[in-house]
Amino acid sequence: MMLERIRLAAAREALAERGQPDGLIAAVTFVATLILVESLAVGPLAATQPEVASALFWIAMVFAAILATTRSFERELEDDAIDAVLALPGGRDALYAGKTLALTALIALIALVGGALSLLLLSLEVLLPAHLALVLVAGILALAPVVVLFVVIALRLRSRAALVPILALPVLVPQLVAATNGTAAAISGDAAAALGWAGLLLAFALVYSVLGLTIVPAALE
């Protein structure tokens, strides 16, 4: 029953995104622009270093995820759809889990475009592509539950556009560090380090998914 509700919430989110893909388009444009501008700011030579390229990519991804998630909830608020979902039995848990699932898929799409752009622009040679894919998946899984959690906490608040990054970024420090180091390790061929960082990211994702599912229903009003 619960799983069905979550599936419906995720499917509803995917349909809404397909009908109004402005959030996705904005996030992809944002991530592409940020990678380009950041690479120019640090200098193209420095940006080709695996550590720097990975850091630039993940910083761009964090902000793009916040943008896409905020847009997703804004859409719900604009047409009052969120109140209808919350009124359903078990609606709060399903909304959090469904949104997290759907936004994980959305962030994965953004990461694919941003990753491809980084590889192309910076001429990066990836020595361990399978490890890179694993770190990317783990990094995205660790990103979505935290971002959704903070967007929910700041829902309907004035200045939420500024508040969500202020609240989420300090909490996302372990995700940023692990994802950056894991990505750099996969690019430069350090398999053990890449696997270690991926494991840390999965543990982080598990902790915040459980935390989100446990307490987010209380924050949804």
């Binding site: 508040l163 300090p170 909490v171 420090v173």
Partner: protein
């Protein structure tokens, strides 16, 4: 709908005694730290900063754990007194966490040769400081008593994850910061007995100070809650 009145509680009656105990305990602890305990064999008199630095850090940990417990209690009971405890403790925690960073920088300059080092304990403490500044910011952006309390309670539960990370960061990663000297596995302190006694005295004094500040700040918050509810009525 919640209701509250600013009542005189046993905590309020204890406030003058807590204030007096804080002053006496701080005088004794300062005498022990500045006069009685010996200078460190390597750091010399610079070590005396650490008595206050460590007590500040302890207070920040304590304050943020109290925010966590009060947040759970608020979500469980919806009693506004727990929200008042959470905000009071968060403000005190942010103050003492900030002081921990400042005192750490003052100690680091003669010891490490730099004001700031990108090492795990310093960074995680700075991140913890930023997190709880965000917590206070969140509280200030909402005027609705119940919604603000609920949001803040959820955040207060999420943020406590950083407290053990700060404490254990020096054991998990290569750190310039020294390893725990008192709260270590096996509870086997590595300090000279007089230094340990001075550190414990300072920690007790700061804990009294925390209790005093808490009673004062909780009373202010309770009066504020009562005013908001009166205005609403």
């Amino acid at each position: 709908m919640i209701s509250t009145t600013a009542k005189t509680t046993s905590a309020l009656r204890a406030r003058p005694f807590l204030g007096a105990a804080s002053v006496v305990a701080l005088f004794v602890a300062l005498w022990m730290a500045l006069v009685w305990s010996p200078p460190d064999a390597v750091m010399g008199n610079v070590v005396r900063i650490l008595y206050v630095h460590v007590a500040n850090a302890w207070l920040a940990y304590l304050a943020f754990v109290v925010v966590f417990l009060a947040s759970i209690a608020y979500l469980w009971t919806k009693r506004p007194v727990f929200d008042a405890i959470a905000v009071a403790s968060a403000e005190i925690g942010v103050l003492f966490c900030g002081l921990t960073l400042v005192l750490g920088a003052i100690w680091a300059r003669p010891t490490w040769g730099v004001w700031w080092s990108w090492e795990p304990r310093v960074i995680t403490t700075a991140v913890m400081f930023a997190m709880y500044v965000g917590y206070l910011l969140l509280r200030n952006l909402s005027n609705d008593l119940e919604r603000r309390a609920t949001r803040a309670a959820v955040l207060g539960i999420v943020l406590v994850v950083d407290v053990p990370i700060v404490h254990l960061s020096v054991t998990w990663m290569n750190a310039l910061h020294q390893l725990p000297s008192v709260l270590r596995p096996g509870l086997d302190p590595t300090l000279d007995p007089s230094m340990l006694a001075s550190l414990i005295a300072m920690t007790i004094a700061f804990t009294f100070l925390y209790a005093y500040l808490m009673t004062a700040r909780v009373a202010i918050e309770r009066r504020r809650q009562a005013r908001i509810l009166e205005a609403r009525a």
